[in-house]
Symmetry: D2
Subunit: 136 residues, 4 copies
Amino acid sequence: MKHTAHTRVRYGETDKMGVAYHAHYLNWFEMGRTEFCRASGKSFSTWEAEGIMLPVVEAHCRYKSPLLYDDEIEIETSVTKLSKVSVTFTCRIFHADTHRLVAEGYTKHAFTSTDGKLLREGNALEQWLKDFLSDE
Amino acid sequence: MKHTAHTRVRYGETDKMGVAYHAHYLNWFEMGRTEFCRASGKSFSTWEAEGIMLPVVEAHCRYKSPLLYDDEIEIETSVTKLSKVSVTFTCRIFHADTHRLVAEGYTKHAFTSTDGKLLREGNALEQWLKDFLSDE
Amino acid sequence: MKHTAHTRVRYGETDKMGVAYHAHYLNWFEMGRTEFCRASGKSFSTWEAEGIMLPVVEAHCRYKSPLLYDDEIEIETSVTKLSKVSVTFTCRIFHADTHRLVAEGYTKHAFTSTDGKLLREGNALEQWLKDFLSDE
Amino acid sequence: MKHTAHTRVRYGETDKMGVAYHAHYLNWFEMGRTEFCRASGKSFSTWEAEGIMLPVVEAHCRYKSPLLYDDEIEIETSVTKLSKVSVTFTCRIFHADTHRLVAEGYTKHAFTSTDGKLLREGNALEQWLKDFLSDE
């Protein structure tokens, strides 16, 4: 399963080169994950309220083409790896008008309790995510 | 009492106009408050650990002159108003090389408990801040 | 004329108090202005391409109620003051579900050329904004 | 050659988990590169003024241990790969008090002109960086 979210490049997300600053792409990846969960039937804030956190343990992004202020982007999110203790979301960002791929990357997350302890024995969110991985 | 902190404009804090984006000045005000507390003998994180939070209830800034990437700035912070339930920090930002005033403003904060309840009867942080106000 | 834009509080926009950090409201004000211009028939990026910039010379915000991660917000934007050399946008942020006003403020902008010179004699954007002010 | 810069985690850089949000590490990497250049004798803003830009084409970070508000960090930066058309900076972030490695990663940058064209034939910044790579 893939989910596509939309947003636009904010003025404050540009830098002096006149293009979107690279760190903000990680925020867009996060928006993608948030909307992926909502579209899948259970918001990420609900998972957190139930005691499962997803701290990022690794992040990667390749930047292929610059984005300008006010450009509309599509954020395509999918689950690409899953184990008892971690999940990887892969994200591709497209320029909405041209459908050109402008960036792609992933974030790997640990499953932890609210006090930061690794959940080693599997958990309800991991079970739920299995369905999305089996769609790939 | 006034305290001066130093930082530099980061690349990601500039925008497509080539100058520091206006919202980041509020982050610099926050750095000023943090360093004000540390210089005064008790870090703000310690106050929070003791159960006193300072959510912002009002913020204001006048921008007088632009800042460029890598400009070094001085952040001058003082306490300018204090009541049992709120405190106002005033902040002036100077270009470090020219000593020109580039922005000034303030943030007003409520004293609350960690669960967000207003502390109406005075508190240890308010008592401590009184000394700084009496210096003005 | 008033225009209402929508967005959600991102994870990275929260802070250790568990609520949206105050500086990000200025980014939402900026989203509101961007969408105000687009809804009014001419995008702000077009105005910039035509050589008119709107650097912020003053910003103010009152925070009335906290926002949480993933809260949907409505950003209501209007033009409230206009002169030959500056324009003020007023912004009110509502919690989308409860319609509660959570913050309100304004930003005052100078009209400048792309090289930062104040446009003293009036300009095309100022003429265009006049219509919105006369709607109030 | 390695260079170490220092900063502290700002309040606005924390998130609702109570730790530094992962995207901000890329801003710290950028601070590291900026200070690396300054310490090496020529500021990055000078290189840009001379017409050489370094847009990020790839970024990667592994997060090993969380950082809290006000934690002081050390940002260790070095040049680890260099070609005629790109340079890679490797960055390690340490908790200043404990000297524990909390994150490590890299950013790969293209050499471009101010209008975004790839500089294919080598350039003055590339020549200058060669010395740092030969130190490794």
